[in-house]
């Protein structure tokens, strides 16, 4: 295992904070509600996500799982007319506090999207984007940081000879792992993943899943997925959402083998969704 990237952070960076201990709640929602204009998308969500663990959010399309994920790093702010109520905290800091430093917040909470979205720049420049922009790493240390991140994203061996090649020339699975490496370069403590494998073939999916399994040792990972086997494979805990509400939340084994709620059972046995 390579040492954590955080160790190489330069002084004067936009933000650095100690991560909470394993087992403590890294992300916690209390009666959290969210609206798109007049439409309420999330209703009174109360759940806590363990630090340094993988939590999956499953549920039928339109159940609000992606919306919730995007509330955690406030990506929904890009859409006009949205509104939030209740409490949502990341490492004890309220996310919807008007005084929040959004840039610092997003450095703590990295995100990987459904479709791999590398910049049309070189592989190196993609990984170096966040640290360069936010002055986290000096130019001299950048090659080391890029290498560490690519190693952690299990991509280094495939690209080490062509770091200057355009990132868009990589395969879909490689692009997605590059996007993970790019997110890691900011040394976040929380990593949000919005259906990271839905556009990948089974082999690429397996690689990304193995990667997620590795990364949980150092990061709090929240993954939204349509694929229930994937949730069962990678997540310690699983939350089931339906129509903007939390139906059931518990250990993954329990959710998939002995769900407490009838709706959860109906969903995981494929009767709807």
């Amino acid at each position: 295992m390579t040492p954590p990237v955080r160790a190489t952070l330069a002084a004067g960076a936009r933000s650095t904070d100690a991560t909470p201990a394993k087992g403590a709640a890294a992300v916690e929602a209390t009666d959290f509600c969210f609206w798109y204009g007049a439409n309420q998308a999330l209703f009174d969500l109360s759940l806590a996500f363990d630090a340094k663990a993988v939590t999956a959010i499953i549920g039928p399309s339109g159940c609000g799982k992606s919306t919730f994920l995007r509330c955690i790093n406030r990506m929904n702010l890009l859409i006009p007319g949205t509104r939030a109520a209740g409490e949502l905290c990341v490492e004890g800091r309220p996310v919807y506090d008007p005084a929040i430093d959004l840039v610092a917040h997003r450095l703590r909470v990295g995100m990987v999207f459904q479709r791999a979205n590398p910049f049309p720049k070189s592989i190196f420049a993609n990984v170096a984007y966040g640290p360069t922009l936010n002055a986290l790493v000096s130019k001299r240390d950048m090659p080391d940081v890029v290498e560490q991140c690519l190693r952690r994203a299990a991509l280094w061996d495939e690209v080490k000879d062509r770091l200057d090649a355009p990132a868009t020339g990589l395969s879909g699975g490689q692009q997605q792992r590059l996007c993970i490496a790019r997110a890691l370069a900011n040394s976040p403590s929380v990593l949000l993943m919005d259906e990271p494998c839905s556009a990948l073939d089974p082999i690429a999916t397996q690689k990304v899943e193995e990667l997620i399994f590795e990364l949980r040792q150092d990061f709090t990972i929240i993954i939204v997925t349509h694929n229930m086997q994937q949730a069962a494979r990678v997540a310690q805990r699983t939350a089931f959402f339906e129509a903007g509400r939390l139906v059931e939340y518990g250990e993954t084994d329990q959710i998939f083998t002995a769900p407490a709620k009838e709706r959860t059972e109906a969903y995981i046995t494929g009767r709807f969704g």
Binding site: V103, F119, P120, A183
Partner: protein, 322 residues
């Protein structure tokens, strides 16, 4: 599938097939003809220009481009001031129009309130539809008096130590022509740049934002670089328009066959000299041939600029792996 379908079915389908094969052939012929028409037209045009300019090419050769004397009476012709005037006005127009247009395009796609984006974009596209003679008229009656009474004296008073802002202030001048060109090319650059920026996938903005970019940083480090080649295309479109613009420039440039250091001095452009003198040059005279030579050079400059721009876009895209 049956191996022997009913016979009359075969007959009808064969007949309609034959008919549609004929239709296909005619349709294909029409398409090939129209596809070939464009290059054929280009070749014919080039041929006409070359044969028309041949006497002047024979008389002056390449020194036509380096000589400055334009004397139809003595039949001495040199086009340097014309080439210079065209390139200078176009360059100045782009210098002013590019930052303004990109600023507006970025504002309209990234920062403006949703409800004003569409109306403003529509008004801008309307600006592109105004005939150039109207711009010229407006330039003479409205813009030049304002420039002459306030803007030019201000420039002279404050920046008069620069050679380009010295000398007597004429209304019609290189600077006036450049300014009207600026106004004329802006709508083109703005509307194309806006389309290009709109076409940037939302994922690029999201990626930058999620990595800790502010709105402004997302624009400068992710969105604009993604749209780079399209933006260059927009600028080239504006440049093409500026190089070939005739009417408004003819009305505002002052039409003096001279190269002056000062932008307040009148100048001339290739398109303007052709528009001004073609009627007085008799058919078959050396004068008419010299004007055709100018047209040939204008044509070559436009083609070269476009080719250079395409090369640039191609190299940029190759570097970005798009």
């Amino acid at each position: 599938m049956p191996t022997t379908p009913p016979p009359d079915d075969v007959a009808t389908s064969d007949a309609s097939l034959a008919l549609s094969a004929w239709g296909d052939r005619i349709f294909k012929g029409l398409l090939v003809a129209s596809a070939l028409a464009a290059p054929a037209l280009l070749v014919a045009l080039l041929w006409q220009l070359l044969s028309g300019a041949a006497p002047a090419i024979g008389a002056f050769g390449f020194s036509f481009i380096t000589d400055s004397i334009w004397d139809p009476v003595a039949e001495k012709f040199g086009a340097l001031p014309l080439v210079f005037g065209t390139l200078l006005t176009s360059f100045l127009a782009l210098l002013l129009a590019v930052p303004l247009s990109l600023g507006v395009a970025i504002y309209l796609t990234e920062f403006a309130p949703e409800r004003i984006r569409q109306p403003i974009a529509m008004v801008i596209e309307l600006l592109a539809a105004i005939p150039s003679v109207v711009y010229g008229l407006w330039g003479i009656f409205v813009m030049i008096p304002i420039l002459q009474s306030s803007v030019y004296p201000f420039l002279e008073a404050n920046f008069g130590w620069l050679p380009i802002f010295q000398g007597p202030i004429y209304g019609p001048s290189v600077l006036s022509a450049s300014l009207i060109l600026t106004i004329m090319v802006m709508p083109f650059i703005m509307s194309v740049a806006r389309e290009v920026l709109l076409a940037v996938p939302a994922g690029q903005r999201e990626a930058a934002t999620a990595l800790g970019a502010t709105r402004w940083e997302a624009v400068t480090t992710a969105i604009v670089p993604y749209a780079k080649s399209g933006i260059v295309g927009a600028i080239i479109l504006g440049l093409g328009r500026a190089l070939g613009e005739t009417m408004a420039v003819t009305m505002l440039i002052g039409n003096r066959h001279d190269i002056a250091a000062s932008l307040f001095a009148p100048g001339y452009s290739m398109a303007a000299v052709i528009a001004n003198e073609f009627a007085e040059a008799g058919l078959g005279t050396l004068h008419a041939s010299a004007l055709t030579y100018v047209a040939l050079i204008l044509f070559a400059v436009t083609v070269l600029v476009n080719a250079a721009a395409r090369l640039m876009i191609w190299r940029m895209n190759r570097g970005a792996g798009k």
